[in-house]
Symmetry: C3
Subunit: 295 residues, 3 copies
Amino acid sequence: MVKSVSVLASHSALDVLDGAKEEKFRTVAVAKKGREKPYQMFPVVDELILVDEFVDMVSEHVLRRLGDSVFVPNRSFSVYVGYNRIEKNFPIPVFGNRFLLRWEERTGEANYYRLLDAANIRRPETYRLGEPAGPVLVKLPESKRPVEREFFVAASAKDAEQKLRTLLQKDYVDEHSLEKISVEEFVLGAHFNANFFYTVMRKRLELHSIDRRIQSNLDGVYRLPAADQLEINPHVKYIEVGHEPATIRESLLEKVFEIGEKFVEACRRIVPPGILGPFTLQFIVTPELDLVVYD
Amino acid sequence: MVKSVSVLASHSALDVLDGAKEEKFRTVAVAKKGREKPYQMFPVVDELILVDEFVDMVSEHVLRRLGDSVFVPNRSFSVYVGYNRIEKNFPIPVFGNRFLLRWEERTGEANYYRLLDAANIRRPETYRLGEPAGPVLVKLPESKRPVEREFFVAASAKDAEQKLRTLLQKDYVDEHSLEKISVEEFVLGAHFNANFFYTVMRKRLELHSIDRRIQSNLDGVYRLPAADQLEINPHVKYIEVGHEPATIRESLLEKVFEIGEKFVEACRRIVPPGILGPFTLQFIVTPELDLVVYD
Amino acid sequence: MVKSVSVLASHSALDVLDGAKEEKFRTVAVAKKGREKPYQMFPVVDELILVDEFVDMVSEHVLRRLGDSVFVPNRSFSVYVGYNRIEKNFPIPVFGNRFLLRWEERTGEANYYRLLDAANIRRPETYRLGEPAGPVLVKLPESKRPVEREFFVAASAKDAEQKLRTLLQKDYVDEHSLEKISVEEFVLGAHFNANFFYTVMRKRLELHSIDRRIQSNLDGVYRLPAADQLEINPHVKYIEVGHEPATIRESLLEKVFEIGEKFVEACRRIVPPGILGPFTLQFIVTPELDLVVYD
């Protein structure tokens, strides 16, 4: 019988640790040196393993200490350890489907929008750079922090190219960023995250909560009166720094469950055995009450 | 003794069902076919009755199944079943005062602002279209979804007429919409909903929570940097799609209870026996710390 | 042994009263006449003392009734009773360090930014009026309600002077306001409050919650489409009227605890014995993921 639950100490680890303690599991957290404080301050970690870099997760001595635990992966695990290592060099039982993790990528063979298309879930249209289009949202990795992204809205293909040129001139992005650029339909509406849980034992999709991301400095920019925004002309950034809880209009829950079920079904088909456990869909609710899922 | 609680499955039904289960009642939900999923997914419904249209609530076979329950009305019940049927053809005991429901309307004899005036609660000034006024908020039903509304802010009466003309040209509103237009003082401040409960047994007004509506696409529009808003010039919509929890400055609670009590008192006088159970007041807090209730 | 907990009935008193009841203390609240309703409506006050003015807290007959209680101070207590009286004429045991309260001031010898500097916590740069600077945030007391403040953002020193002149002309501020003006670096990012508790008995810093202030009429201004803002040109106010709950990106918690610990350490050094109990740090998270604490 499973006695302990382990995590990489970042992203959503505290939630997992807190829940595991509540369910009487022993908990193990692998933290990066210099970032371990929260895992010491909240009384939810029984064993704290410190590593120099998160990639050391797959080293012999860490694996030995994780030995008899079940590991709950999160996005930081994917980003810092890497899909290949997770799939081939991480012999710890994972709660969830480790082969699904790489489908969260935005580009390449296994990518998130391909999964949404297979599920027949509406997502923003995507364009090639320069292709004529209405308002678009352009995303590409920063030059300095490749795990964070530059975002901008452009009224047209021409406007997009011009704004991109400015970013290049200011070194906010570089040639490498351009390889991972995405240009997509700008969907105007209210954004929500639906936090689901698919339980295989009960064969049931559960909706656990709804929340909404907070981005910096966007959050401060939109609180600037319009005249001041135009005067100061800030460089707008969309770095995720927090979340707010929310509820969604009850009559929209039908559609929320619908996209959840479609997503579960598509994952089962494309990356068997599909989703096990928690997953989140981020979407825009349009004024026509459509749900458009984005990455 | 009451053994079961019934609802029309929309709007705020899940909250009622959840509370009823917690209090050990049997629960009955009447859902529209194709919109029943949330009432199957959350384990709060003991008996689910499916109807083709919500108006079938008053049909013989549904009424028979609701027989020994107490029914908790919500806004969808009012909108889809209609006041006359609710008052005359719905022989199920209702938790609350069924004759108050029609006072939620914006126009006609029994209207919400008349109730607020009787309660001596500050509300936005209202104007006739074309009447000289400072900044105004104009609301009128959409041409295509008459239960949803177009909103716009106008700096002056002249500006309002011009913006209205554009909406007509684009078919967003039509002649029928104009019959239900409202032009009111635009009150600038922070919006809140206070969720009250008036208990007749304890003769007590309770404040259960505070939250704030989220509107689409407004929510996405204000997150657009000002320069992009001006460039893209989006058609702004104010469709309610969710809520966020909030707290209100403690020194404002005096005024919050005050408007709650005044509202209870006015309802008792005008639509005896007045309010029984839950009700919400939506208001703006101005920088002068006044509360202005709106519909 | 302590049997009762007392508060000045404003600001955050209901939270304290609620917690005290939960811990089985008797509770005493001193309310201003005409503002006592919330303390009667929520069942958390055992003894309600009414005063004409909050400053009557230090009168003989109120002190006698507070006699055997422990008093939990809040910001309204500081503002309405005053530091000198609190330090010299309030012989009731206080939960917390009463000599720290005056360090929440923005000007003078004992001021908040001096405390932050001693703690080596990043805060906005401050400038003299007229000193050349990039975008700045200017704050000064209102002419009519000196406990509330006018705020404005200015693109430059010159812009600041011009906007200040307008405020003076419109009597929003006056000569007295100018004595307490602050001009500081405008830091663009997402704002959060971290609500900490330092327990002396356990020698432990706890993070209890994160929330975010809501300001009027700013909250309504930013929901105005940019074109309407420019047209209506509202006088923007930043009066705190509520809060929203939030969570912060997990990888930022390291820095959140860091500023909490530094602040506790600096208070211990500068105003011994330092902080006892609850305190809040308000900060901006920049897109570079720095935390900048403000007053």
